[in-house]
Symmetry: C2
Subunit: 258 residues, 2 copies
Amino acid sequence: MESTLNDEQQKNRTPQMSELPTTCKEFRQACENCSLAKLCLPVSLAPQEMESLNSIIKKRLILERGKTLFNVGDSFSKLYAVHSGSFKAIMPTYYGKEQITSFYLPGELMGFDAIQSDQHQVNAIALETSSVCEIPFNGLLQLAGNIPNLQRQLIKIMSHKFNPDSNVNLNSNADERVASLLLALSSRFAQRGFSAVQFNLSMSRQDMANYLGLATETVSRIFTQMQEEKILQVNRKEIHILDFRQLQVRACVKVASE
Amino acid sequence: MESTLNDEQQKNRTPQMSELPTTCKEFRQACENCSLAKLCLPVSLAPQEMESLNSIIKKRLILERGKTLFNVGDSFSKLYAVHSGSFKAIMPTYYGKEQITSFYLPGELMGFDAIQSDQHQVNAIALETSSVCEIPFNGLLQLAGNIPNLQRQLIKIMSHKFNPDSNVNLNSNADERVASLLLALSSRFAQRGFSAVQFNLSMSRQDMANYLGLATETVSRIFTQMQEEKILQVNRKEIHILDFRQLQVRACVKVASE
DNA sequence: CGCCCGGTTGACAGATATCAAGCGTCGTGG
DNA sequence: CCACGACGCTTGATATCTGTCAACCGGGCG
């Protein structure tokens, strides 16, 4: 079954970081050395399988705040794994009526929107200085055909988008939306080994508001309101969750213990 | 490469509809004879590959209006392809604050929400008398590993959910939401060989409203308003689009020709 | 035939957007 | 090092959209 991988594996066994003169700003780091491996694609791959995956991931790109990784209409050939920093995906529509559809944190994959039509459907913009690993899509599919674990992992990652909680609930008010976003970010930071109760937002209030379908003023007012109620402490981009339980109540989260 | 499939294929070659005494109401019909094959999973499969897929699809279930196919928390083992009729996926939350997350038409696959946690995240409820084909998920993955076309097709189907247009735009008003939903349904009916300008809604106004994050009264008012403006003709569940172009304008659709 | 339920319509209220002003921080340049 | 300007954020006043409540209508079903 693995006979088709031999030359990929061969290539991977050759020394690192010397052979390819490219224009990118940094060479890849092996997945097996990446602290994000447990969040990203290589979850539960055997060392040998991880090596195969590694062999198709050639480049790491660095983007500064505000730079776009890809734009609507760009032709599709690669997925991108956030290695550091963060991104927003934004769908331009009429007259500045753009809609931010996702935020991406380290270990998360971007570009799935383009699979259907082979063209990207959103602009991906760095929210801060960030780096991404390029994952050639055809290579990934080929590999996934040979590594059941990788196939399952890819499909599992894609299935996140089908979780109703990963989208903003349309039948929720402004409170619930802001609270839900904060809880979602909190949980994603925690997954990455950061504090669940204190973190920095990389997006502006306007980005949050747009993502949630609110006005920036409304987001701002809800922050001050939640501060007055001792649920949050907010200092510009810095969020401190003081009353996690109450924040869950605001987000209408069903909590197991009650 | 196909050695692992032999016994599946064997089984498939045995006569139809006689061997399996089950509790389901109808036995499967072969994918190759199904008019939905071009929308469903078997797209672009070779006859032999289609046969393999066919071999894992054992049952067809029939559900009457209002019956649930699966519920939140049900353990996951199968995807379901709508064969006839239609469904809604609904996420129950606090106190009747439920949220309808999708509608499903013939040829569309349900159950992806459950992949992540192995438990369904929504209730799937028939909007009318409907039938579905059961697709064992593990069997499908195994098959997909051996049939690159099937793998690609599965991933392409899943990627639909990443298209920003397949979700309600949060920064849109009631007009735009209703218009967008009608256009989306129109296009999906057209794909299935039905009229793009005249069709029947299987969901109630309340379902539409909930899906769109509006009140039923608002949906109702927008229907009457669009009737007065000669954009639509509405008779209970029956929709007639009189001015397609204007409906697109309402939905803020970017049209290539202008 | 009459009830029930989904849908429509109207009046009103409330949530949130919009408009406008002011504030603090950060970066730049003198 | 300080002053200035720009920008993002906050706050207040007001407008608007949509939700809520209530009544009514009409078709379908018992």
